[in-house]
Each structure stands twice: as structure tokens, then as C-alpha cells.
């Protein structure tokens, strides 16, 4: 269920670990049969064990403070005695409610709760965003393989369908849960809240959240991360930052991947960075190639700095 929209539609979000296909519940049903043998009554209790695979749609109600200001003043002057029978005035006059509520308030509130949890446990939470195919999973795989001995990595994978990415991260050696959003185009803070409970992340580790490959929708949804990392690759256009400015504006780090392909593509590195800086001049860049390893050292340095801080 998407808590952002609270829709609870059957297009179900599922949260699974590799090797876990569905949740299995064993139900015990007791059937009672009554037979009559030779005029004598026997009572047999049969116990059947049925195993069902269920997909659950949990509907959690998070207590959210609703900031509703209800300006409905009744001015009754105490000195006056009113002769009206108020009970007779039962017309339904339209009433105005000043709501002034942020539409993404629920997501933002829960994101702040996640953030507080991460901070208290000294967990560095990163939100990886990009279009599909820019190399989020490959970057993660390599980072886990290269730094996994020194840093404890935990991963939340977001995709509409399949366990493929979670299986790759599992192979790379980090604990991982896969969120399948079904038809959803982004992860939200409620999904992260639930996935984090599955992961049991110890203190002083790094949580990497790989968002759904989409350069538009995830930009609006704070997950509680410490930094948002946007990845583009040299096989994409160098004008991506101004084509999808919201994502670049909301990010802290920009990784430009597949630099090994620069001689073969029409990607102008300088121009791309200029565009990105126009949208967000706070961006910090890393140019690297996950494939050849070129430039990865700077990214690792940055990661280590974040942890020691």
C-alpha cells in the first residue's frame, strides 16, 4: 500500500528479502465429524494443516498530527439572553474550514521520523535516483565489493517488479530487501519505514536506498535520507539536468557514470555540469566509470568522510 496516497489499492507494494517468495502462513483448521457406528456415536476431530501463500496488504494508520485550524467562532455575549430556540435552526449552512495542510505532509512527517531514527543510530542513509539503466545497481555492487570489509552496507532496492536487483546485491554480499511498488513510480517514506524494520540495520552502518528508475516522480518524495545522489551516464544527453530539473535541484550529489564511454558518445561533460549547476549550485560531482573503476576512489573517499563525521 502506498501510504503517500493511502490508496490501499490492490496493486500491492511488496517487501521481500532474496529467497523469500511469499509469506507463508500455516493455518490449522479443525473439522469435527460425527459418525454413527452401530448406533453408537463417535466424534472424530480431524486436524488439517493448510499452507497458504498470502500477499498481505497491510493498512497501517500512522498517527499524523493534522494541522487543522478550525476557525469557527461563536460569539455569545453573556449579558444578553437569547430567546431563540437553537434547536430549530438546523439548516446546513456551508461551513468553511481553513486547512492549510501540505499535500505531501504525511510523507514528509514520516520521512523526518526515518531521519531521526537513522541519526540516532548513526546510519548514513543515501537515496540513489536516476533514469533506468544509468548504473545505480552496478555502482552499488562495486562499492559493496570494494568497501564491504570496512563499511557495513545495507540496501533497500526499489523496482516496480522482480527481485533481480536484490539478488545482485545479495550476491555482492550486503543484506538487502526488495520493495516492488507494483504500478508505483516512486518509493515513499512509509515503504522505507517498513523495509527498514525488515533489515534490522545495526548502528554505524550505511543504508543505500536504490529508488525506482525514474527521473521525475521520486524527486518529490523525501525518504529521510541524509543525502540524495542523482546518477546520470554519458550515454544519456548532457542536457538531462535542465530537462529534469526538479530531480537535480533536490539532489546533493551528482555522479556521472560510464566515463569510459566518453570517446564514443556525444556527451559534453563540461556542458552537463554547467547545466546541473544552473539548477543546483550546491551539487557535488563525481565523474567515474563503475566498469573500469576510474574515479571510484573519490567516491569512496567521500563515503568514508561521511561516516567518520
Amino acid at each position: 500500500m502506498c501510504d503517500t496516497c493511502g490508496c490501499g489499492h490492490g496493486d500491492g507494494v511488496t517487501i521481500r528479502k532474496p529467497g523469500e517468495t511469499e509469506h507463508n502462513h500455516d493455518h490449522v483448521h479443525t473439522h469435527s465429524h460425527e459418525h454413527e457406528h452401530n448406533g453408537e456415536k463417535h466424534n472424530h476431530d480431524h486436524t488439517h494443516l493448510h499452507t497458504h501463500g498470502h500477499e498481505h496488504d497491510h493498512s497501517h494508520q500512522h498517527s499524523v498530527q493534522s494541522h487543522t485550524h478550525n476557525h469557527d467562532h461563536h460569539h455569545h455575549s453573556e449579558e444578553h439572553v437569547h430567546d431563540h430556540h437553537h434547536a430549530d435552526h438546523h439548516h446546513n449552512h456551508g461551513k468553511e474550514i481553513e486547512v492549510e495542510q501540505d499535500i505531501l505532509g504525511k510523507n514528509n512527517l514520516l520521512a523526518e521520523r526515518n531521519r531521526g531514527y537513522f541519526e540516532a543510530k548513526n546510519i548514513l542513509a543515501l537515496n540513489l535516483v536516476s533514469s533506468p539503466g544509468s548504473g545505480k545497481t552496478s555502482l552499488l555492487e562495486r562499492t559493496i565489493k570494494d568497501l564491504g570489509k570496512k563499511i557495513k552496507f545495507y540496501v533497500i532496492e526499489g523496482d516496480q517488479q522482480t527481485m533481480n536487483d536484490a539478488n545482485r546485491i545479495d550476491q555482492a554480499g550486503a543484506p538487502v530487501v526488495q520493495i516492488n511498488t507494483g504500478n508505483g513510480c516512486h518509493l515513499d517514506s512509509d515503504m522505507i519505514n517498513k523495509a527498514v524494520k525488515e533489515l534490522n540495520i545495526p548502528d554505524n552502518s550505511v543504508l543505500v536506498i536504490e529508488n525506482v528508475g525514474n527521473l521525475v516522480c521520486p524527486s518529490l518524495f523525501d525518504l529521510g535520507e541524509a543525502a540524495r545522489v542523482v546518477i546520470i551516464s554519458t550515454t544519456e544527453g548532457d542536457d538531462k539536468p535542465i530537462k529534469y530539473p526538479t530531480m537535480f535541484q533536490s539532489s546533493d550529489i551528482c555522479i556521472i557514470n560510464k566515463t569510459d564511454l566518453l570517446p564514443y558518445v556525444d556527451f559534453d561533460m563540461k556542458k552537463c555540469k554547467e547545466y546541473a549547476m544552473q539548477v543546483n549550485h550546491h551539487l557535488k560531482f563525481f565523474e567515474l566509470s563503475v566498469k573500469t573503476g576510474e574515479g571510484m576512489d573519490k567516491w569512496y573517499e567521500w563515503l568514508k568522510e561521511q561516516i567518520s563525521e
Partner: protein, 113 residues
């Protein structure tokens, strides 16, 4: 398609507030949507049309206030209207500015019965 999530969220907020006021019908809803909030207005309107069916907002009058984006130049502090997130300052051409209005996504008010 995050506009659908946003439409559902609007409805949830509106129904919650209407229920708290013991109302059963929402006759009018007013929204503030910033032009740089990351929402495509047409997509949002389309999403609202389908999301409102069967809710307290089914027959409501939707007032959507589109809020113009205003930016402040980081260099000369000039304030200007902008249609995107990256236009340079029209006065000093500095490309860096901060948007201080136009990112709103807010349910402003309701009229309920």
C-alpha cells in the same frame, strides 16, 4: 504519474478535515499549487477526475490557485518571476538564485456541509 498519489493525498486530507468537522459533503476545495512544485497541472486535474469518484469530493467545486514562482538572485538579491528552475537573474545575469515561492502543494481550505 505521481500526480495520482498527490490527488489521492489531497482527497485524504480533505475527507479527514471534513469528518473532523462532522460534515459529509465537501462542496468546495481550494488548493495552492506552485508552478515549480514538480506537478503537471493537466496530469493533476486528470488524476483528480478519476480519484474523486465515490468520495466526499465527488461533486465539489475545485479551485486551484496556480502560484507563480518567484526567485531571488544570490548575487544582487533582485527578485524576479521565473518559469523554470534555472533561469539567470534578468538584472545581473547571475545563474544562481533561490526560489522562495512557487513550490507550494497545499490544501488551502474547504467548504463543507
Amino acid at each position: 504519474m505521481h500526480e495520482l498519489s498527490i490527488a489521492m493525498n489531497i482527497i485524504e486530507i480533505a475527507e479527514e478535515n471534513a469528518k473532523n468537522a462532522n460534515a459529509s459533503i465537501i462542496s468546495e476545495i481550494e488548493l495552492d499549487i506552485g508552478s515549480q512544485a514538480g506537478v503537471v497541472m493537466e496530469a493533476l486535474e486528470f488524476a483528480i477526475e478519476s480519484a474523486k469518484q465515490g468520495t466526499m469530493l465527488e461533486n465539489a467545486n475545485w479551485k486551484i490557485n496556480k502560484i507563480t514562482a518567484l526567485a531571488r538572485c544570490n548575487s544582487c538579491r533582485h527578485e524576479f518571476e521565473t518559469e523554470d528552475l534555472f533561469s539567470p537573474c534578468p538584472k545581473c545575469s547571475n545563474p544562481f538564485s533561490e526560489i522562495y515561492q512557487g513550490k507550494e502543494l497545499r490544501v488551502k481550505s474547504l467548504k463543507v456541509e
